[in-house]
């Protein structure tokens, strides 16, 4: 076991704001939502979403590969390719047995939907043979390994909306245990599928502001009414800092803390006092050898549901005497479910490397029950040495990541 710092040396991003990290970051700085009407959701109560419209899987991967991958797998593979390019890694040159992959994933599969449709339309003979290898949540990690010749541990983790963040926490442990020298870790989800929209809406989790989709995702705002479904993937290259320095690659930031807790309270609701998530924040801060007053920024889970935002605000108010400036990326990107935690981790790293906090969209009137300094309207620059990224999932599963500037 080593306590060597864990470096982030590569970022790959596919989001509704752009098909790569640079485009996504520039769009984040505008602080406006990318939500739009979604024809594929026609007939449902909620008919808008945040789709990654600029991601063309056939162009990014080639049709000879993309045809057999579910969309969440396509995005994971494309993001992984971006990440290793950014990290100046060559899969031909590395020792494949010393490289691992951990991907946060869920059950949102278009391939499984096709199979269900064949079955229910009386055409079971039409079920595509590739359905299982296309739709299984583990195949995001499996196909990334196949694509990049990675032969160390490969796995998907599932902690609902915290999955992408939990994947980074697992990757950190693989590196600290000495199991791997390099781990690609992240999350991916195609949560804009009609079945997902229909199901989340029945939980009353989604905003129903169909007349103005761009104004629908409004974390911490008094008029919020739920989240907007999104999709996307982020893959990060993690390695021990010593390993990164030895190969002279730039370090974007350090993953200095990664803590997971469970509320054990309710299937979908967080503890109202935020105590479960507060405990995860405290643990991550302690792992980094820091105190709460050392934290310069919080990248919030910020879903814009009434319960989450209140609970998260209370958690932050519990941990921090004066909570540091907060931003909520789901206001711009929507909620990519199992991809969200990794996307927000990547954005937190970019926040530190650019020394700029991207603004929260649609925050016109802070909920009077929420006492937070939420960055809104325009980016805020400042000296940012440390940042926390919160991710909380159904099942009461919380993961908090703490990054420090390189």
């Amino acid at each position: 076991m080593t306590t060597d710092a864990i470096a982030v040396t590569g970022i790959g991003l596919i989001t509704p704001a752009g098909p790569d990290a640079a485009t996504t970051w520039q769009r984040m700085l505008l602080g406006t939502s990318v939500a739009a009407s979604d024809p594929e959701l026609a007939g449902l109560r909620v008919t808008f979403s945040c789709r990654a419209r600029e991601f063309d899987a056939d162009a990014a991967l080639g049709r000879a590969l993309s045809w057999r991958l579910d969309r969440f797998v396509q995005m994971a593979v494309a993001a992984a390719r971006q990440a290793i390019t950014d990290a100046r890694l060559d899969p031909v040159a590395w020792d494949p047995a010393r490289v691992g992959v951990v991907v946060g994933a869920s059950a949102n599969s278009e391939g499984m939907g096709v199979a269900w449709n064949k079955l229910h339309s009386g055409r079971p003979q039409g079920i595509p043979p590739m359905t299982i290898p296309r739709a299984s949540p583990n195949m995001a990690a499996g196909e990334v390994s196949l694509d990049l010749n990675i032969q160390g541990p490969g796995m998907s983790v599932s902690t609902a909306c915290a999955s992408g963040a939990t994947a980074l926490a697992v990757a950190r442990d693989l590196l600290r245990a000495g199991t791997c020298d390099i781990v690609l870790a992240g999350g991916s989800d195609s949560a804009t599928l009609p079945i997902a929209a229909g199901c989340f809406d029945k939980l009353r989790a989604l905003s129903r502001r169909t007349s103005e989709p761009h104004a629908a995702s409004r974390p911490f705002d008094a008029d919020r009414d739920g989240f907007v479904l999104g999709e996307g993937a982020a893959m990060l290259v993690l390695e021990r800092a010593q390993h990164a320095r030895a190969r002279h690659t730039p370090i974007h930031a350090y993953l200095a803390g990664a803590a997971s807790t469970c509320d054990a309270y309710h299937p979908t609701a967080s503890r109202p006092d935020g105590s479960g998530s507060a405990r995860a924040i405290r643990l991550a801060v302690a792992q980094a050898g820091l105190a709460p007053e050392d934290i310069d920024h919080v990248n919030a889970h910020g879903t814009a549901t009434r319960l989450n935002d209140l609970s998260e605000a209370r958690a932050l108010g519990t941990v921090f005497r004066t909570p540091p400036p907060v931003t909520a990326p789901k206001s711009v990107l929507g909620h990519a479910i199992s991809g969200a935690g990794a996307i927000e981790a990547a954005l937190t790293v970019l926040t530190l490397s650019h020394q700029t906090i991207p603004p929260t969209a649609n925050l016109d009137r802070l909920d009077p029950d929420i006492d937070l300094d939420v960055v809104t309207k325009v980016p805020r620059q400042g000296r940012l040495r440390t940042a926390v990224s919160n991710s909380f999932g159904f099942g009461g599963q919380n993961t908090v990541l703490l990054f420090t500037a390189a």
Binding site: R63, A64, L65, R68, K118, Q125, G126, I127, P129
Partner: protein, 99 residues
């Protein structure tokens, strides 16, 4: 009406993403990097979208066959010759193999 060979070539290019320039009647499956999963997808697509009968014994198809030989095997498996098409060709005498 497209021939069986047309359907095989179209499915390989449009559904399984193979390069149209590489997909010719004399191309072998293994030259197109069509593995066992892609072959299953090819046969299922022909069956589901084009009503091609694909009996279980058609599993004898393997990567060493050309697309023409595969189309001939499939034609032989149909209940009767499609109107306007040639009589089925024996794949063995045509130079192919069914084992």
């Amino acid at each position: 009406m497209p021939s069986m060979l047309d359907l095989v070539m179209e499915t390989l290019t449009q559904h399984i993403g193979r390069d149209p320039e590489a997909v010719t009647p004399s191309t072998r499956l293994d030259q197109l990097d069509v593995d066992s999963l892609a072959l299953l997808e090819l046969l299922c697509t022909l069956e589901d979208e084009h009503n091609v009968r694909v009996p279980d014994e058609i599993g004898d198809i393997h990567g060493g066959l050309t697309l023409t030989e595969i189309a001939d095997l499939l034609e032989r498996a149909q209940p009767e010759a499609l109107p306007g098409q040639q009589a089925p060709v024996d794949p063995v005498t045509a130079g192919g193999s069914v084992t």
